[in-house]
């Protein structure tokens, strides 16, 4: 099951995590993709690295969130996913 964190409000991000597959797959949807897509993906991957997550499919629906918001939402979603596994 997917674990989610965040909202679809302006300046927020909705992150859902599935601890499956091989490696980290980030699927990003954002109006800001041409401007910040690269950075958003880096923020998500850095968070996974910090949490020692090696395999995950992560859906990111971004509504203009700043990096610290993206990291926090990702972290909480990953934690929730880990709880489900354990």
């Amino acid at each position: 099951m997917r674990a989610m964190c965040g909202t679809e409000d302006a300046s927020d991000v909705l992150v859902s995590v599935l601890l499956e597959g091989r490696g980290i797959v980030v699927n990003l949807k954002s109006k800001n993709k041409p401007l910040f897509g690269r950075m958003i993906e880096i923020a998500v991957r850095e968070t996974c690295l910090e949490m020692n997550i090696e395999n995950a499919i992560i859906e990111v629906k971004d509504f203009g969130a700043l990096d610290f918001v993206i990291k926090a939402r990702t972290k909480t979603a990953v934690r929730a996913a880990l709880k489900q596994v354990n």
């Binding site: 302006a10 300046s11 109006k31 800001n32 041409p34 401007l35 910040f36 897509g37 690269r38 950075m39 509504f63 203009g64 969130a65 700043l66 990096d67």
Partner: protein
Amino acid sequence: MSLDKTFPSYIEGYGTVKPYAGPFATAPSAHRYGPKLSSSKPGDSKIVSNLEAALEKSGIRDGMTISFHHHLRNGDYIVNMVMDKIAEMGIKDITICASSLTNAHEPLIEHIRNGVVTGLHTSGLRGKIGKAQATENILGKPVVFRTHGGRARAIEAGEIKIDIAFIGASACDPMGNMNGVEGKSAFGSMGYPMVDAQYADKVVVITDNICPFPLSKIAIPMQYVDYIIEVESIGDTALIATGATRVTKNPTDLLIAKRAAEVLVASGYIKEGYSFQAGSGGASLAVCKYLKDYMTEHQIVGSFAAGGVTGYLVELLEQGYFKALLDTQTFDVMAVDSIRDNTNHIEMSASMYANPHNKACSAHQLDVMILSATEIDTQFNINSLTGSTGLIMGALGGAPDTAAGAKLTVVVAPTMRKRIPIVVDKVTNIVTPGDTVDVLVTERGISVNPKRQDIQNMLDQAGIKTLSIEDHLKLVEKFTGKPDHISYTDEIVGVVEYRDGTVIDLIYKVKTT
């Protein structure tokens, strides 16, 4: 001052490019354009049974330029009504010269794709049309963007010749005397078509309210009108004029407005008889709220407030804070009532408002102008037309006109909107040149254009903290990060004219992957 940009000397579909050279550097030398003479006889009738007949009588044919005004805003039925009929009649290759276009005009996309419309001159473009032009160049040539003053100037100079002007009127008599303040579809000032009516070869009035001759309140008189058609409705009344515009409750906007008011007071411009204009959105209008308190405390009465007039400005007029309102475009029901009933609420044409090439305009009489911005860069250039992703999604409006005219121009804006920084290294497109912009106020700080050392000194004396625009940018990028660059093709999809008819920027087609 000139810009550090180079433009081609000739642009296909636009013509010869005269580059921007400074806010008042380019003077006109030609004579004013004159439309064809007409004549009338006793017993003439102008009322035509339907739109098709009016188009035929006006001599509509392929390749003509026709004009519209956007006072009916999102409720407008006129543009679509006329364009659908023109398309149905099999006419092609029409250039539209509109004072602006709104979301109500999205059906134009089909007329563009079908070759009915092949030219577009406007102050703004939004929604689907803006996106389609920026990413696909659906027109196949650049849209010409003009300021409200620049449009009046271009028409008077004959740089754009209107074959037929279509004017929506909420009240009109059988000879064509008209206004926009009476009737079920009342929208207020007729500032934009006042110019069109005088310079178009043919003028067609579309109204849903024919009144007995003579109409008592006349915005545009009969001597300019050829034909009149009566329709059931010229627009959706709920969308023409909304309820009274209220000052924002957004705490960020209020903080910015409060700081901007402090800057205005410290700059010494808020004194007896001062004049003022502000945009109608976000923090701009809220600045009035804080100025009002200061004016009460120091018993200051201003001379005039101007622009797009909202109910909030009407309250200031009625409560005696300003002696008069000068109005080219009326924004809400309360302001429509006011312009109809209050003799100190004065209707003015776009030329009287902001044309730099006539003998005086109200924009040049301003002490203080408050502007908002989509982007502002370290040269204080403002963009209000294109988004940071290169899409066309805004308008020039009267910003370049009023910024050039006002003694003090203050930009109020949040530092970011949904991560997109407002303070940037270089704006996507220059609309209002930094030469004419004095102060930036955001929720994180105040920056003064180094050209205005006098203002900097006044703020320093008043103990108001400021930071350089470069530090302002660094502060913002600490939160947002530095955005990646958007890629463009070399296809020009828009020409941004400065108010004097020079070219200040070009919009290129966005590269989509």
